[in-house]
């Protein structure tokens, strides 16, 4: 009797270990809960109120890394550099990687993956059981300061942002979480990369293009970093792949 019980317990223990191993393989990024709240879009859309309510959701504490994206590509070879379809990613897709399944020496495995299109980012999040954050969700997280949910009106913070947004692409991207975390516990909302959102191109639908700048229809003229962000977004297509553009995933609270 004891013998059989031992076998039973041992097999369950082995099983639990195997399960842990599988979880480590998937390496799902830790998420933090973002409490719902009002977000004030920079641009007033047709018939839109000044404030938009965003429901509570979870967001990854850091951007998806090269190492994590490599696992995705290995599990989904259709998303490897040589196999990806042109409609989903332009010619620059993963261009800093050495080959299909090897990021190589020049890429830090713990740095955010860049040169990935919106389609690739969306496919990754879906594979991880998550989704891309909406622009309103992303902005809600990003407007937090170190000690408050924001909006962060610190002048020095804004100056730093402007300097970062106007700086060029660094030679080699830093690893994720090397900066400060914000009130919610999310790292690197600024200062590392720009990030894809689910509806990145919906800022100024019928108005004149603000690709690169402009302020028509703006609700807050002091928010210069947001202008730079929106200007950048309206220049992108969903199959663009850029060296300073990566992503993180989000999830509903249900």
């Amino acid at each position: 009797m004891k013998f059989f019980l031992t076998i039973l317990i041992t097999s369950f223990t082995l099983l639990a270990n195997a399960q842990n191993h599988e979880n480590a393989k998937a390496s799902i990024t830790k998420m933090v809960l973002i409490k719902g709240g009002y977000y004030k879009p920079l641009f007033k859309k047709n018939g839109q109120s000044e404030r938009e309510f965003v429901n509570s959701f979870y967001i990854d504490i850091h951007a998806v890394t090269n190492e994590q994206f490599l696992r995705f590509v290995k599990a989904n070879p259709d998303w490897s550099r040589s196999k990806v379809k042109k409609i989903f990613a332009d010619g620059s897709y993963l261009k800093d990687w050495q080959s299909d399944f090897n990021p190589g020496e020049n890429v830090n495995p713990s740095a955010p993956v860049t040169y990935v299109s919106w389609f690739a980012a969306k496919a990754y999040c879906s594979w991880a059981g998550k989704r891309l954050p909406t622009m309103a969700e992303w902005e809600l997280v990003a407007m937090a300061g170190k000690n408050s949910p924001g909006p962060n009106k610190d002048k020095k913070f804004n100056e730093r942002l402007i300097r970062w947004y106007s700086a060029g692409l660094p030679q080699r991207l830093n690893k994720v979480m090397s900066g400060e975390k914000n009130y919610w516990g999310a790292y690197d909302m600024f200062g590392l990369i720009r990030e894809w959102t689910f509806d990145f191109n919906t800022t100024n639908i019928n108005g004149t293009a603000i690709c690169g700048g402009g302020s028509a229809g703006a609700t807050d003229l002091t928010n210069y970093p947001a202008f730079l962000r929106y200007g950048f977004n309206s220049c992108l297509s969903a199959n663009s792949d850029l060296g300073n553009l990566g992503f993180r995933c989000a999830k509903d609270t249900k």
Partner: protein
Amino acid sequence: MKKYLLILPAAILLTGTVYFLAPGNNNSRKPDLIVKNTDAGNEVTKPNDDDCCKAITITEGGYTDMSVYLSNGKWADQNGNKADLGKFKNKNVVLAMFFASCQSACPVIVNDMKIIEKTIPENKINNYRFVLVSIDPERDTPRVLKNYARDHNLKSPNWTLLTGSKNDIMELAMMLGFKYSKNSSGGFTHTNLISFLNDKGEIIFQNDGLVVDMGSVSKTISKLN
């Protein structure tokens, strides 16, 4: 003792089952798993976003690199039938995104598509399909789309009205370069875009705006079978 001899294999079987069914274990699936849509049945299934780590393989169908039909989207038509965009392969497609309760721009777009339909020579009309894809899945159920088709005299099989998940709608919009956003009055702000797809599902011409460039439309039609 005999009892335990029975319990042991049962326990092993059970643990094995638990192991294979355990969530997060999907990584062990073959990476080349192909997720395919089947047209069987009338049931409309929603893609499960919680299905972690399954291999997402682009629907294979010999599509070219720039084919819109590479999309994995799952759609339902005005009759409540499952519809894969690939079913339009080998047809010329005139496609627009819209929503049924739209008062201003969408009726114009639908009307423009009807005008385009009339310019197509009679012997070629069967080579064409006219497709309206809703951006308002919450309200535009297949029944609503069916009523819309009836009210606007959009007859099948030439006309197909589709609805799908928010996710798939956004993906198609991104492929086409169509932009839309929900506004606080319950409607949508959106661009006005009519796309012509060839028999491979590649975009060969797009009319952007409410005024149809009939010269370019005629030129496009003359190039198609």
